[in-house]
Point group: C2
């Protein structure tokens, strides 16, 4: 009889941001496959499971997705309960949907377990609400990194009026800056750049669209980092001025 694969969001880093459902899945797991960007502190919930690191930080410079698929399949076919731990949420830049479909095609049951995504936790830790009445009616999460070199519609994103949360953007600051300016976003639009979201060593750099490249360099901003672009990324005092204006 086949086992089951839990595709689990490990959250943004702070182990307290794990959900109860994730903890229960880890408790049951006999094999845990750990992705990049997962804080090893969450592994306290599965002390007896076999651990397999499948991320870049684990030594394999980039474990091929096909290998990860085969590994999940092998253990599930052995009847094992497998937890596949991913940073943040498995359905937001996490390939959880792909892996669930791939397993389903092979008759393996899986279940997705949501997690807090890094952009949300990083902003919250800086005191930035992603939406704010009268200021921002929505939020857009995008990744600046792709394998296919496709470009995002930065102009539409600039005009959407939503707070932008950009993942994997450190190497793409010039493109982001040019695209958003072209879309009509003012150069004075507030930006927060957040490194190590939700962890004790989280660092934040407040800037503006116009100055973010220079400020990121001076700050020595390192990947992975989150960019929050929008009125809500101003300091609290600046937001209050805007609200009362």
């Amino acid at each position: 009889m086949n086992g089951k694969v839990w595709l689990v969001g490990a959250g943004p880093g702070d182990p307290d941001l794990l959900t109860l459902k994730a903890v229960k899945a880890l408790n049951q797991a006999e094999v845990v496959m750990i992705d990049d960007l997962v804080n090893p502190a969450v592994l306290e919930h599965c002390p007896n499971a076999r651990m397999i690191r499948v991320g870049k930080r684990g030594g394999c410079r980039s474990t091929p997705q096909a290998f990860i698929h085969r590994l999940m399949l092998r253990y599930a076919r052995q009847g094992k309960c497998v937890a596949r731990l991913k940073g943040g949420d498995p359905c937001i830049f996490g390939r959880g949907g792909e892996e669930a479909d791939w397993l389903a095609e092979r008759g393996i049951e899986s279940e997705l377990v949501n997690g807090i995504t890094a952009g949300l936790a990083g902003a919250t830790n800086c005191g930035i609400p992603l939406t704010l009445r009268g200021i921002s009616r929505g939020v857009t999460l995008v990744t600046a990194h792709t394998q296919d070199d496709s470009t995002l519609n930065w102009q539409a994103l600039a005009q959407s009026g939503t707070t932008l949360v950009i993942y994997m953007g450190v190497a793409k600051l010039a493109d982001i800056h040019a695209g958003l300016l072209e879309g009509g976003m003012p150069s004075a639009m507030p930006v927060a750049m957040i490194e190590n979201a939700s962890l004790p060593h989280q660092r934040e750099c407040r800037s503006t669209l116009g100055h973010m490249q220079a400020d990121a360099t001076a700050f020595e901003l390192k990947s992975p980092a989150i960019l929050v672009i929008g009125e809500v990324a101003a300091t609290p005092a600046a937001i209050q001025m805007a609200q009362s204006a």
Copy 2:
């Protein structure tokens, strides 16, 4: 000495989607103020706290925000540890930022605790990943409801290329349909309409932009519900066809 206010995301409904941090805050709380859309099942984590319902479902048709503010302040000044429980996440359509700022201005310490937002959990429960390589590089969460009758830039949202997750949209289906069509979104764009996200009685209706109004009526879709609009909202079989095309 003043107490502290925890502004806690209670998640989308499934009590297992509460974070460990939220559970710890509830354990400590002496007073719990419970908002609309919070599943009472999460209150098992604070059996001895004083409970105050401040949402529409609690009998008060709409507890004024000013009254909620004063109540938090009163208990915090009594030195009490207060947990303010909100559906989903306090910083995504949750007013968490406003309440934290208001308390800070009065010298009261508060801490925001993230939660899983209903749009994410509802989509995940339907097997819909909000992002998917080659299909969707991002996701936009917006609310269709406002107090100020301002309109969203539906055209920019249609052109953003991100998956759209719309909260409070049941009464605004006609506006959403017209705005997205005007922005160039094809009438065949897949739509999933999800009621009672993440709860055992979650219901889903798959449709398209062109048919969503008629389908919602036939389905008797009730508020609150989540709309997921984008290629990822197709059935898994339809997504696989698109990926292999």
